[in-house]
């Protein structure tokens, strides 16, 4: 549903095209571009969100023990990631660490969530952009070539040519599309066994879980996990075949969605042998997690310390509908280690919404703020992205080389994933190698590898959990008192990337609460230093490979670039009428204010 508008021609024939809302993502995202069709290039890109949530506003004054139940509702697909992250933050604030078995149950639930969400997004949403029907409409010559190209891994997945794979991706009729829906059912059942309900868990709360730890619950999970393995073992080589084909058949396709390597990962799967939820030890227990935290700049791992990551977070404005909070209260001047905490850190943020008209040229145009990470070496505020989550997690874990549990091993430049033999397939090993680029294809490729990673990790977690159950150590909850004054922070990975929750408690109530999910990082608008957000950055300057001209342009390459980030901006609806003719332009802020 692209909107086309001719822009006054200067030296180049530039056409303004916009997609608002972008479909097949969660929530409301608008992408506004200027395209030079003569040179097949996107000249400029702006990403906007027209939805205001206000969690940081209405969480104030609430009982902190409700935080995970409320913040879970931030998202209708990764709500459990929010609940878990909130529990991490609350555990720190309450000074407790839950019994080890509870932690393994959390890890198993989250592993199922990664498998579920990545699969449904990849096969049912992303691959619509790569399916036979779509490629026929946008790049017919590419489909012809795909018909003639043998799939290198045909012996594993059974599809003879690349076009056969593309047909399997066709929505509603393709085999992979349908099988992925089936997979998402099984993985959600696995999730529910551990966290009670999907997607807003009912058995997750600070101090532990209400899941009754019996041998039965873990074997039920394991039997489903084994069923998933056959799918995963076929999906990984199938993904490789398709993505490698795009590189080969469309030279230069690596430029689609490519941006500087600026990746952030906030860690996932806590290790109960190391993690005590004390801020003072956060750097150490963060590194012990089964997905290593890290910030990667130009291929270099800058840090794996969650303390460094935490202190470097800055929330900037520049193109967002908010007033600055520089003169508002400072809640946390120093962290528990004595380090100064910046005024622009989430602990000290005060959200001051200021609804206004959208102004794409030199004004404010989004409800998303601009989170950045302050690089002390250079003084830059880096617009980190998560690459849809999987690529950043694998990249940080690979470079750090800390994870080694047998099923998964980080080597320093790759991640080895070992999947055991199942009824339909033999034992298999996959290796995710650090790619040359941070681009659309590699973000998508990493996603299916992370499904395999999560499945392999789940075996480790099950073994650990069953060992505790067999020893009779079935306690899954730790009691606590709510302190009058406390601070806490939780670092986790939502399915599509970094997730942090920052909490300040005063008089036993929430004084300040700021969740920062992945999409504010990825979908942020240009900040006041002029640094564009990752979507904008990735799309601007990218080449266009679509064979359609401006008249029936679908923007498939732009959509592939944006969707590779797994955008998630819950939740709003826009309506567009007509063939490029704007009947009425109306600005409807969500709060009670009149906009002129």
């Amino acid at each position: 549903m692209a909107i086309r508008e001719e822009v006054s021609p200067e030296s180049r024939n530039i056409v303004e095209m916009s997609w608002d809302p972008i479909t097949r993502i969660v929530g409301n995202l608008g992408i506004y571009t200027k395209i030079d069709f003569d040179n097949q290039e996107v000249v400029e890109c702006k990403s906007t969100s027209s939805v205001f949530r206000g969690y940081s506003v209405f969480m104030k004054g609430k009982d902190p023990r409700d935080a995970h139940f409320i913040t879970s509702r931030i998202c209708g697909i990764c709500g459990d990631n929010h609940a878990v992250c909130s529990v991490y933050a609350q555990n720190m604030a309450y000074g407790i660490a839950m019994p080890p078995l509870a932690e393994w149950i959390y890890n198993l639930g989250e592993a199922a969530e990664y498998m579920f969400d990545h699969t449904i997004f990849q096969d049912n949403l992303v691959f619509v952009d790569y399916c036979e029907q779509m490629v026929r409409e946008t790049n017919p010559s590419l489909l012809e070539r795909a018909e003639q190209t043998e799939a290198p891994n045909a012996d594993i997945h059974g599809y003879r040519t690349i076009a056969d794979i593309m047909r399997a991706f066709n929505p509603f009729t393709g085999e992979m599309y349908k099988e992925a829906l089936n997979m998402s059912r099984i993985t959600r059942e696995m999730f529910c066994l551990m966290e009670g309900r999907h997607v807003h868990p009912s058995t997750i709360y600070p101090g532990g879980t209400g899941t009754v730890a019996t041998p039965q619950v873990f074997t039920d999970y394991l039997s489903r996990l084994m069923r998933c393995l056959d799918f995963i073992k076929q999906a990984v080589p199938m993904n490789d075949d398709v993505f490698d084909f795009f590189y080969e058949a469309l030279p230069g396709y690596e430029e689609v969605g490519r941006r500087r390597i600026l990746l952030g990962c906030w860690s996932a799967f806590q290790n109960p042998d190391q993690c005590d939820y004390k801020y003072q030890n956060m750097a150490e227990w963060g590194r012990a997690a089964f997905v290593t935290p890290g910030i990667i700049v130009d291929g270099e791992l800058l840090t794996t310390s969650l303390v460094d990551i935490n202190l470097g977070i800055r929330i900037l404005l520049g193109s967002s509908y908010y007033e600055d909070w520089q003169n508002e209260e400072t809640f946390v001047t120093h962290d528990p280690l004595g380090n100064p905490v910046d005024k622009r850190h989430p602990w000290n943020q005060t959200t001051l919404p200021k609804p206004q008209k959208r102004e794409l040229e030199g004004g404010n145009y989004s409800w998303v703020m601009s989170p950045r990470w302050y690089d002390q070496r250079t003084g830059d505020h880096l617009a980190l992205d998560t690459g849809g989550g999987a690529i950043a997690r694998l990249w940080a874990t690979a470079l750090a080389g800390l994870v080694d549990v047998g099923y998964v091993k980080a080597t320093g430049d790759s991640v080895l994933i070992n999947l055991p033999k199942t009824a339909g397939t033999p034992e298999m090993q996959f290796e995710w190698n650090i790619p040359q680029w941070s681009n659309a294809i590699e973000r998508n490729r990493a996603r299916i590898y992370f499904v395999a990673y999560s499945a392999a990790m789940a075996f480790h977690f099950i073994e650990k959990a069953l060992a505790l159950v067999h020893a009779g150590d079935t306690q899954v909850f730790q009691e606590f008192d709510v302190p009058d004054e406390a601070i806490g922070c939780g670092f986790h990975e939502a399915v599509r990337g970094v997730l942090s929750h920052h909490l300040v408690i005063r008089d036993g109530k929430i004084a300040n609460y700021h969740p920062y999910p992945p999409t504010p990082w990825n979908g942020s608008p240009t900040d006041w230093y002029g640094t564009p957000g990752p979507y904008e950055d990735a799309v601007a300057g990218q080449p266009i490979f679509e064979e359609n001209g401006p008249d029936n342009f679908k923007g498939i390459d732009i959509m592939r670039a944006v969707r590779s980030f797994d955008p998630c901006l819950p939740c709003g609806v826009h309506m567009y009428l007509g063939n490029g003719k704007v009947l009425e332009r109306r600005h409807s802020p969500t709060l009670g204010i009149d906009v002129q």
């Binding site: 104030k60 609430k62 109960p272 005590d276 009691e479 606590f480 709060l591």
Partner: protein, 78 residues
Amino acid sequence: MAEIRVGKPDTKPDAPAHTKGINSGNEPGGIEAEPGLEYTGETGAGRPQTRSYARKSTGINPEKRNPIDPNSPNLPPA
């Protein structure tokens, strides 16, 4: 707050946490009062280590439900 027109609140934000007669599940003492679970020390990172007995699952002749060998674990059915 920003200059935004909002309605008058008709409840306090923390109302559900203070409903009379509702106990807080997190308050210390509850687990201790629960039968069939013994603290045996601390495990990695200072986390509690426990051992459960048949009494955790049943109040009817629980001593007859434990394993014959005291070193064997009790696997609770639920």
